[in-house]
Symmetry: D2
Subunit: 410 residues, 4 copies
């Protein structure tokens, strides 16, 4: 591969690979079954804490955290995006590995925000326990009432009144909020409708148990509730928190959200690449072990061609994400704007197609939960919408292409 | 439309349309919610029986039943495939309408089998109550242990011992078996491994409560259990029924299955076309009622082109199904072999794509169960496998094309 | 097929089929070779006149002409669109058959225009010899200087000065103008820029030899000059013709163009379906007669699946065109607006894909002119632009879908 | 970009870029026109020799040549694949640049073969003048009579008789053979049908003017003759050359062909990427400079989305080719077997799609030769067949994937 991680990263990539194969994969199916049979599937599984303890002991913990910027304390390895990317890919092969390594969305993004924009008090209160894995967090941005693909549509409010912020509105797809360990919400709302389009909104830390915060329901994503984390619809009614809970300052939400984007998309996309690889492996296993019309499935009709197309698609997608990581590492977000959108369009679509192929090769089994394919498909499909629908990202890419052609009024 | 249903059919199409709009659509969401909140979601909903009674009173009952063949009693209208097709399309717009009209799979196919191949006793015992809607049935063919895309792989056995048939094996995707009203299973198994490839298997009527029949679990299809009907994995262990329960005769299962195919595929496909139409309508409603970047969603990027492509795809698919219905009506299955496979390939894929587009236009809502799109997607996806995967049908179509070129050894 | 032509049409369909197989196909390759080796490839081939005479004698002549409207004389059979469609499909299998039957574009459209809008003098002068096949015509609408996908962009002018029309401007893709038999041009230009958007333009009959008319060059379409007819870039410089040469009246060009559309698109699309069928046949012949890796080509990899997909795609496309013909016959253009655009989007794309597949199965031969596939591909590709690019037609279809949703401002 | 060329390469990349922009692009259209208007379009254009002399003077000459292997003399820069790849991309933007830099297929591959397998005499006679650009060469492998996708089908013969090789058979798609400067053919034929499948064939140097060698015709590729180089069908009838003309030794043709593959495919694919970039640029220029329906074309319908998709596709393809170059440089062909096939499948298809999009945005102009798009399309389409059809390469990729699953009998 032309994008080499550092020697230290290679060491941890090897350990992560080993850990996933020996500690996680053998127990994953049992954990999913335990959840599905639990009286209350929303309770954290005790096994998770055990696995986390083991992983942490081996240094497989918080590896997503970037090198410290000026004024920030260094946590963890301080890996470049290109160092962490292969680890993200490995964790993506499993639905629980990201949690085991404390590298799961949205906690990763929330921790980054706290690291870069949190005050000392905010860090002590929320970042430390998040880094320790003792609490979980949620991010409350998308709203059911408006087309949230245009973030400036956001209608929930965060009004500063004296030394308090008053929060009202309804959010949904607040991932992680179903879990009793989820203790802190990052809420984004409208503060000053008269300000510049991108300076109207504020991010506020809202403890989960603040009066007025209600998780109205947990939403299925393509029929899956993703217990024990889940996706919540959360109502905020006259919720009051101190102004000290504001992140960075009033009106700075878009600035914060922007900084959260690049690495987050690299993580998401690398995990999906891991998931696509896993799905291709499952397809190959099934295709070589089952027989129809006197031949292994893989030798029937266009199956080999589909295998080949999947291999090409995964490889191309991985290279594009690594190139994006490389640009982020060497030029920052400003040098990777188009690529960050390109991977958001290309990778979920690729993963969805590869997984669909794997489902088809599994026959009825592919639709069931006997294989992780239905869950994988949902993860890929959801990411064509989460964090901006494909169409919005295509718009960004086109705009950047057109910027080279001054005749165009954009 | 170039394929005109009969005058009588047009009358009933109008009534069905009216009934669905006024009686079913207003209560459907509530019924889904009632199921999801029920202590036991597998219990039939009382409202269903009420709706069925109303529908039956209006003659909207068992309309799928074909004209009587020689030696068969006439039930219902005796519609041609081209008469019933538009009704199937209308019922496909709703997930409950097929049940309300007693026109849902697999009961429709099972009733047809009983009608054409059942003895007088078999009809009295099972066909009558199925036609009356007082019981439900399941079809037990696909097996978890083999690639069932090649039906000759089937490994479960139905051995004649004296005046009994002894049944052993494991089946899955037995749709409808989760419902307590499901009283009869049509089981297909291997009887004589020495016979001709298509004369080895037998269909047997197995009452649901026969000792040795165990529904081991209900399977999620792309994470949906489809309560209160469901898809079961059923174990048969030394199940004994009288030889009188054999349908048509030992070794005739493939012959029976064949006859079941043509109309069944037309029904499935017409329902999917209704579902795709419904999804396109939802996309248009959402696309015109929500705004982003200062425009209705439908005016952004390629959305109008996608709407146009959906319209073209639906229209082409409908015409192909109607042409297939026409061929079945005028030439029988022998004259429609390629077309029956063509629609199985073309329509589910088309529906899946149209629904995916509608989901995308709904944003996060499209993934949730607030809209019927996640359920619709699953229905379309499952039909790319159910009743033969796309790839097998493509093989049939190609074989029929190649039959014109004698050089080819097939 | 569910769309039955009349008995008389069936008779002529049979004759056309026979004529193409026995008279045209055996000589077609030789004619193409004669053209390519001729000193002047733009001279009409003598064999063409012979074939035309034979075809005419058998009644295979001008069959595209519709039933007479009030005030029009009846020419030919007066076939409905559904009657003529299968003949158009048959002629589309050959590149010369449309000419042999005097059913080739753009002469067909020009004859229809003259029939419906021509004065008695205009008909005598130009329609009669066109119907007799003694002259050819061209249609001069598209312009090199503007995006002609928006016809209101048209910049060439047709100004009435006393009893003359003065014509200026530059047109291209004037098909047929390379042939010395081409004697009459229908020119469309701007007459009154102040009038309503669709009443500004006028159609004028311009004899090919009028002073100021210059065919500046003949254009290759995807590298083919399509001798001996060709596609010209024509300059009009102070060309003066009598006002009596105006068709229908000043400002009525869009009205005339509109009426020309529906049947013309059905013809184009049916010919492409014939071409796709021919290409699929060639693919099957090649695929069954050549061997690689020990198998006939058709049995390698996904080839059979591609054959099946081609069969499905052709059948769906044909049904959509027939449905469009049926709507035109029963409801006129107003009842087929969306469908007329649907087929323009669906059929050329389908044909292009099927032909591409056939090329691939032919290997290097598919790229050469040893098979008619390179020419076929060009015909399909050009029709994704000719007569309105796909994107404009998608826009029309979407607009008609959205018309059902009043919230939408279009 | 994550794949950095060496400092020396970067210097020459800059010079090549400058040379193409200032010396080649300004004269390219004129040269094409000169060819198309020439009495004999097959005569070399004098301007070409002038450009070559200039390029050579600047060191832009034979840059494709790899670092010397043991026993070989070093010619040129000895660039790694990763060094040369960006130069190949730049030359691909123009149809004449590869010739100007003496880096055009098939001469590049033929020079590599001579370099690696040629005897001192063979090098002196043919390699030296090829490196000097004073003669041109052709490669005679594909045959019209068999499916050459399976190279073992090859039927032409090269029989050793005493100190002569006797050559018989018919080859086609011998690119370059139309040019009078083409003086040497590399012929591949069957020598020993009893030998191992891959040891039966021999490569022989056949001077163009050897008795018995006849160029029977020049073939159009998708209607283009590609003067003044062309693609020939060549007949060999009892052609006799000394055994000293055999390359490497009898039966070693597959071994030689194999070594020719990897870098050659990287070159082809990088040139196509340059061509796709050029086409995207043309699309953006046209899309921003023409107006329809009151907007620049690029702002209509899905055009911006298509621009974005083209950008993503080009970037992914480039990264995959660079990764392949990197593997060839670091691990040799054995470490890049799958990738070398992956790029052959992915890149021509990508280029074809991007070019098709650009054609569509150009309207009728896109079909003409006023833009280089028709020629570009043909180049991309041809490469889906040349050097092995997509389907064969998919087979190779799948086989390598399946090699990980021992159950599979391949």
């Amino acid at each position: 591969m032309g994008f080499e991680p550092s020697t230290r990263a290679q060491e941890l990539i090897g350990k992560a690979d080993e850990f996933i194969r020996t500690e996680i994969e053998p127990v994953e199916a049992a954990m999913h079954q335990a959840i599905s049979k639990a009286d209350d599937p929303w309770q954290p599984q005790p096994l998770m804490a055990e696995l986390q303890a083991k992983a942490r002991k081996q240094g497989l913990w918080n590896l997503f955290l970037p090198k410290a910027e000026e004024g920030n304390e260094q946590y963890g390895e301080g890996f470049a995006n290109l160092d962490y990317a292969p680890i993200a890919e490995l964790t993506g092969r499993s639905f629980i590995a990201p949690y085991v390594f404390n590298c799961n969305a949205p906690d990763t993004g929330n921790m980054e925000v706290l690291l870069r924009y949190g005050s000392a008090e905010q860090k002590a209160a929320w970042l430390e326990p998040l880094l320790a894995g003792t609490i979980r967090s949620a991010f409350c941005m998308t709203e059911p009432g408006v087309a949230s693909s245009d973030a400036t549509n956001m209608a929930a409010t965060a009004i500063v009144e004296g030394d308090e912020v008053v929060i009202n509105g309804r959010k949904w797809w607040s991932t992680g909020v179903g879990n009793p360990d989820c203790k802190i919400l990052i809420f984004m709302g409208l503060t000053d409708p008269e300000a510049h389009r991108y300076a109207r909104h504020t991010m506020v830390l809202v403890p989960r148990d603040t009066p007025g915060v209600t998780v109205e329901r947990l939403l299925p994503a393509m029929s899956r509730y993703d217990e024990p984390y889940g996706h919540g619809e959360v109502n905020f009614e006259n919720v009051r928190v101190p102004v000290a809970n504001i992140l960075a300052g009033p009106g700075r939400a878009f600035e914060i959200a922007q900084g959260r984007l690049g690495p987050g998309r690299v993580h998401h996309c690398m995990r999906l690449i891991g998931l696509a690889e896993k799905s291709l492996e499952l397809a190959l296993e099934r295709g070589t072990s089952r027989t129809a019309f006197g031949k292994p499935l893989v030798n029937l009709g266009g199956n080999r061609e589909r295998i080949a197309d999947a291999r090409i698609a995964i490889n191309q997608a991985r290279l594009l994400v690594l190139q994006t990581a490389y640009l982020l590492d060497t030029q920052g977000l400003a040098g990777a704007l188009s690529e960050v959108s390109q991977i958001k369009v290309a990778v979920p679509r690729m993963a969805q197609d590869v997984i669909d192929m794997a489902i088809q090769l599994h026959g009825g089994g592919g639709l069931s939960d006997d294989f992780p394919l239905a869950a994988a498909w949902t993860a890929a499909r959801a990411l064509r919408l989460a964090d901006g629908p494909d169409e919005v990202h295509r718009g960004v890419i086109a705009k950047l292409e057109l910027a080279k052609y001054p005749r165009e009024e954009q």
